[in-house]
């Protein structure tokens, strides 16, 4: 008699346990979905911020220092594009280097003629890579975030006529 009751009791508990398991599984699925979505939104936000900040910074710098022969495009030893902007301050020439190094957009402000050392620069914002090229007075900039998202913009150089005249 006691054995029969125990069997009945076990049979009562099983559906409850199954329901509980289903409930917990669904709850975990919902949490996992939410966490994944949250992570995606956060990644996208970080990526957009990095791209906006880097492109705005570069265009702002180019506009501020846009003068004849001030802008030069070359490559770092690592083969990454290097944007150099030279300006004159109190009779002395200084160069601002903008480049990508160790997953970040870096800036190095140094006296013109000093050897370029990528490690000496200041990291501004996380960035995987950037490209820059010049075409008929338009400077094209393309940045790639660590998440792989790409964005590009172009800046019209006011000094382009002067540059071509000097060349």
């Amino acid at each position: 008699m006691a054995a029969l009751k125990r069997r009945e009791h076990r049979a009562d508990v099983l559906p409850l346990m199954a329901l509980m398991l289903l409930f917990v599984t669904l709850a975990l699925l919902v949490i996992a979905f939410g966490a994944r979505t949250y992570q995606k939104v956060l990644d996208r936000q970080e990526s957009s911020y990095a791209l906006r900040a880097s492109l705005s910074y570069m265009t702002g710098k180019v506009r501020a220092l846009d003068s004849a022969n001030a802008l030069m495009l070359s490559q770092t030893n690592e083969g990454m594009p290097l944007l150099s902007l030279t300006e004159e301050i109190d009779g002395a020439f200084y160069t601002t280097y903008i480049y990508c190094h160790d997953g970040a957009l870096c800036e190095l402000f140094t006296a013109a003629g000093n050897e370029f050392s990528p490690e000496s620069g200041t990291a501004l914002v996380e960035l995987a890579a950037f490209e820059a090229w010049l075409e008929e007075g338009l400077l094209f900039l393309r940045a790639e975030s660590l998440q792989g998202q790409k964005e590009s913009c172009s800046v019209a150089l006011r000094s382009f006529q002067e540059v071509t005249l000097h060349d």
Binding site: G34, Y38, L55, L138, E151, C153, S154
Partner: protein
């Protein structure tokens, strides 16, 4: 001493769930579904808005770049970097990345002033993401 009653056996000892327990269970499941749906809809909304913000950001960069090129009189150079653009009677159309950028040259006065309306639309929804107007002096217009 009273025997503990199983939720799956009624007062009469029959083998089906007791009514209050069953109602409570359904209510709990419904409540859980409602909360889950609300929770998921919030996240879906957040993701949608995040995508919109990203598309808007890209559209702003595109429109600003086109406006800058137009203002500097270097629209041809800008377009040459975007292969696949179409030349229309009233301007140019560029498509890519789920967006269409159209440059409509609206006005030209005595060959001096060139006005352009730059519009970026979402290909999927047809929604207007950004619209800019830019002007440029052309052909020695300062005289």
């Amino acid at each position: 001493m009273t025997e503990r009653q199983s939720p799956f056996s009624g007062a009469s000892g029959r083998r089906w769930p007791a009514a209050p327990f069953f109602v409570e269970l359904i209510a709990m499941v419904l409540l859980f579904s409602l909360c889950a749906a609300l929770y998921l809809s919030f996240f879906a909304g957040a993701e949608h808005r995040s995508k919109e913000a990203q598309a808007l950001s890209a559209a702003v960069f595109e429109a600003q770049s086109a406006a800058e090129a137009l203002r500097a009189g270097r629209l041809e150079a800008y377009l040459s970097d975007h292969p696949g653009y179409e030349k229309m009677p009233e301007g140019y159309v560029l498509s890519g990345d789920g967006r269409t950028l159209s440059i409509t040259l609206t006005e030209e006065e005595a060959g001096a002033l060139l006005c352009g309306r730059i519009l970026v639309t979402d290909d999927e929804t047809g929604e207007e993401l950004i619209c800019l107007t830019s002007a440029a002096l052309t052909g020695g217009g300062l005289q």
